[in-house]
Amino acid sequence: MKELIGIIKDHILYRQQILKLARADLQKTYRGAALGWSWAIIKPAVTIFVYWFAFSIGIKGGGADVEGFPFFLWLMAGIIPWFYINDMLSQGSNAIRKYSYLVTKMKFPVSTIPTFVSISKFTVHIILVIITVLIFIFMGHSPDIYIIQLPLYMFLNFAFFTIFSLFASLLSAMSKDFANLIKSLIMAIFWLSGIIWNVKNLDIGWIKKIQMINPVTFLAEGYRNCFIHKVWLFEQPEKLICFAIVLGVLAIASLWTYKKLRKEIPDVL
């Protein structure tokens, strides 16, 4: 509990530095390249094209319309949250090691490092979401009233992976093994979580049950609920409850790790 209050205090006290460091992190990611900012859009665009090509053209019978929406739009709605998740898994979980100079060279609250990295990645996410909405409108599938729950899903996505990156980056700072473990799991998480195949088509009971506690599935489906499936969050309370439980467990694990490692991290890096 003391740790939680400490972390919140750090965030309030350093709110300006957090925002400035987030901006700096963003600038650093995209500068030095001739195309600069456009990479934030080109990379996801290429990825989406590749999966669309593989599933629509490459695989026979794949890429069928989903609930009246072209496969392309269905794919996009679920893969957009994944780009942020992917960034957080690969870079967020390494945040403290990457910004070790903030830990070992000056007095700076360690707990805020994953936060500003997350804000930086989330900014790109917001831009991609706006582009997605524009493409839906352009393709003649203007979002309707269900879109108002999108900010909530975005917030849940942000909250979950910011807390996750605190947990993961603390452990990654202690040992590179953990960083490598997460990196090697990214592909597995991507293919198993129903981002590019429809979880609704699953008919094996126990896999369905496992998917209930998979936060990535919840989030990808959540974004699709807004764009494609037109389902309200409260219509599937059991899914929300499962997600909340996983989030709670993660938060406790993060606090525990923080309490254990906060004072050791500067000696290790």
Partner: protein, 245 residues
Amino acid sequence: MDNKEVVIEFKNVTKLYKLFKNDKKRLLHTFFKRIKYKEKRAVNDVSFQIRRGEAVALFGKNGAGKSTVLKLITGVSFPTEGDVIVKGRVSALLELTSGFDPEFTGRENIYLKGRLLGLKDNEIKELEETIIEFAGIAEYMDQPVRTYSSGMKARLGFSINVNIRPEIFIVDEALSVGDEEFKNKCIKKVKEIVAKEDVTLLFVTHATGVARQFCTRGILMKEGKLMFDGDIDEAIKKYESTIKK
């Protein structure tokens, strides 16, 4: 001196480092207490007080615990036992060549560091020219720091740290970098800062001659323990006798 406020206080401070065979053991130790490790007592039951405006030199051989003491003062590292109390803005010249973001330009690093130390943008703007002028590398200010030589980084690092109006000023071997001309410039600047009534200086060095120029008090450390705390001349004498042995 005695009536001034205490700005740095160590109360029976001990710092232990846990040494593991490898990173895997260290990670496992987080979850299982049984994992074995060796202990290194870097600072052993050290107590002292430094008052506002004092200029103190810290002597000791390599591995005596000086750097650990500085890390504890700057708040980077935490004591295993005891208390460390520090009041005021600490500007530390620890390892000058690091502590920059290599992807940013020199100018951006000035702003980054200033903000991290709690200065406002307009305050940094006021100091910017002074900092650049002092560093003497104006033409490189808009190049990324990763392209700097170690001498240039040291110049910029020193310049930022001395110009942000520190209240507690810590110099760790920093004056040994750079060429003779820059070194003298630095010494002059440190003197200027120390001459101000309310700036506290903590100077870590092996160069006893330079220490004598600034400091009135000397602390000698050996193997993590405080061996002597008192007049600078006596401290230097004791320190030099430990080296000869």
